[in-house]
């Protein structure tokens, strides 16, 4: 137990070293506190923030936008990808369109969605939906295309109809690559969310970062930045754990 604990401590020691260096840098005046506020005051500001309603209103706005946009992207993106793999006409129709839009740098959608839906929730949800859908589609498509034909045949000869086989064989076969696509989409959704809130918004964590920076509240700004980083990290780790659980049949 203690051995495992000290192993973890040794592993994450570099992070602690960085944190200590940060604190020392401002403590001993190596850099101006205007440029790098001491870690301790960032933590203080962070504590002040998470006990304020204002902060949670902004965090709630961000999570709502990201959650709804990502959910739409996953559901519709997965359906499109599997549809493309299973029905040839769908593939012929959609694959050139996917091929054209997939390499589009997704951030270019920010002004378009703002143009269509303004600066509120709807434009952010649309942005995240459009920006995150294609990685899911591609993952689902590649996964579903890779489903072995003998598996499909086995299900058919065990009495499953075509639609039943799609659900029982093709969808689970697509799962590993589909879930990888979702992981990419998850990371992308954070980038698009925070960036669009930084650029055009009246609420949200990205907005809060920009607002505090403009107001010269650097302690607060650093605190929100670290909070966003932490949220992104936790979201990814939780997702990975869920993914490993869902795919535990692969050894």
């Amino acid at each position: 137990m203690t051995a495992a604990l000290s192993g973890v401590a040794f592993r994450y020691l570099p992070i602690v070293i960085l944190a200590v260096l940060w604190q020392m840098a401002s403590e001993f005046g190596w850099v101006s506190t205007a440029v790098l506020p001491p870690l301790s005051s960032v933590f203080e500001a962070g504590w002040g923030l998470i006990t304020s309603d204002d902060f949670w209103v902004n965090a709630g706005a961000s999570l709502y936008r990201g959650g709804v946009g990502l959910l739409l992207a996953i559901v519709i993106g997965a359906a499109l990808g599997i549809g493309m793999a299973w029905w040839r006409p769908v593939r012929a129709l959609l694959s050139p369109i996917v091929e054209i839009f997939y390499p589009l740098p997704k951030s270019a959608l920010i002004p378009v969605t703002a143009l269509w839906l303004g600066f509120g929730d709807a434009s952010k949800i649309l942005l995240i939906f459009l920006g995150c859908m294609l990685p899911v589609t591609i993952g689902a498509f590649n996964g579903a295309r890779g489903s072995e034909r003998t598996l499909v045949w086995s299900a058919r000869s065990l009495g499953a109809g075509r639609l039943r086989t799609l659900w029982d064989v093709v969808v689970p076969s697509a799962m590993p690559e589909l879930l990888n696509g979702v992981r990419t989409a998850l990371a992308l959704s954070w980038v698009l969310l925070v960036a669009s809130e930084l650029i055009v918004a009246r609420a949200g964590l990205g907005y809060l970062i920009g607002f505090m920076g403009d107001g010269g509240n650097y302690d607060g700004m650093f605190a929100v930045v670290l909070f966003v980083a932490l949220l992104g990290f936790i979201a990814d780790r939780l997702y990975q754990m869920a993914m490993q659980r869902a795919l535990r049949w692969r050894e």
């Binding site: 598996l151 045949w153 299900a155 065990l158 499953a160 039943r164 049949w249």
Partner: protein, 265 residues
């Protein structure tokens, strides 16, 4: 070709395989064959001779384009639970446990849940996998995977059992154990078995009738009847058995050499 009493009638069947890039290949050429009820027939030939294609056509996985296949007088239109199949590479659902794999066909047949479980357990026990019900295929050895696949197919009680080199991916010892086991299962509940293999000894040991196929395009070159006492522990060394294997091996050898020559890669 009308054959009285035959369950499966294959009449002048040809099949063209069209790869997405490249020229079409004639895989099965003008094959006619009748298989009686509860017969154990082996389709023997060199690799790439179209014997698996023939089996897939019987399974209804590939569409019949030229010629006809009828089962009990009715043409095949697609896959169905009357014809169970066992593949060389097992084709187990990797995301389902052994139990869930064996239960799958029973669920599709609409059996009540407790019935499904009882029947699945009976077949898991039959193939000797008691204690591995909750394992995933990735945790099993090759032989255990193939036992699961056989249990899954037997559980739905198909009239016809199609086997596509089912022991080809197993090591020699497991293979010989599985052959004996298959025979004892077959003797307890005889079904029509069509068994694809390129192993002459396996074909002679298991089947009552062997259809030897030529190299591509696949035709039936000869049909050979065998009848041995399969419970004889010294069968493999007995003179009649060895002679039979030699006789058939001579037929296959020429085709195997031809197949080597036409192999594209």
């Amino acid at each position: 070709m009308a054959v009285n009493g035959a369950q499966i009638v294959i009449d002048r069947l040809s099949h063209m395989y069209r790869p997405p890039h490249g020229k079409p290949v004639l895989a099965v050429d003008d094959v006619s064959l009748a298989v009686g009820e509860r017969e154990f027939l082996a389709l023997l030939g060199p690799s790439g001779c179209g014997k698996s294609t023939l089996l897939y056509l019987l399974g209804g996985f590939l569409p019949t384009e030229t010629g006809s296949i009828t089962v009990d007088g009715k043409p095949i239109t697609g896959p169905g639970p009357d014809r169970g199949i066992v593949f060389q590479h097992f084709a187990l659902f990797p995301w389902k446990t052994v139990r869930a794999n064996v239960m799958y066909g029973l669920k599709r047949a609409g059996l009540p849940r407790d019935e499904q479980e009882k029947r699945a357990q009976a077949f898991i026990d039959l193939v000797g996998l008691h204690g591995f019900e909750e394992s995933y295929p990735s945790q099993l050895s090759g032989g255990m995977k193939q036992r699961t696949a056989i249990a899954r197919t037997l559980a739905i009680d198909p009239e016809i059992l199609l086997m596509d080199e089912p022991f080809g991916a197993l090591d020699a010892q497991t293979r010989s154990l599985m052959q004996t086991e298959l025979l004892s299962i077959w003797e307890r509940s005889p079904k029509t078995v069509i068994f694809v293999t390129h192993d002459v000894q396996e074909a002679v040991y298991l089947a009552r009738r062997i259809a030897v196929m030529s190299a591509r395009p696949g035709r039936i070159k000869a049909i050979i009847e065998t009848n041995f006492d399969r419970r004889d522990p010294h069968l493999f060394k007995s003179k009649p058995f060895v002679d039979k294997v030699d006789e058939i091996w001579d037929l296959v050898r020429a085709e195997a050499i031809k197949a080597q020559g036409t192999r594209s890669t």
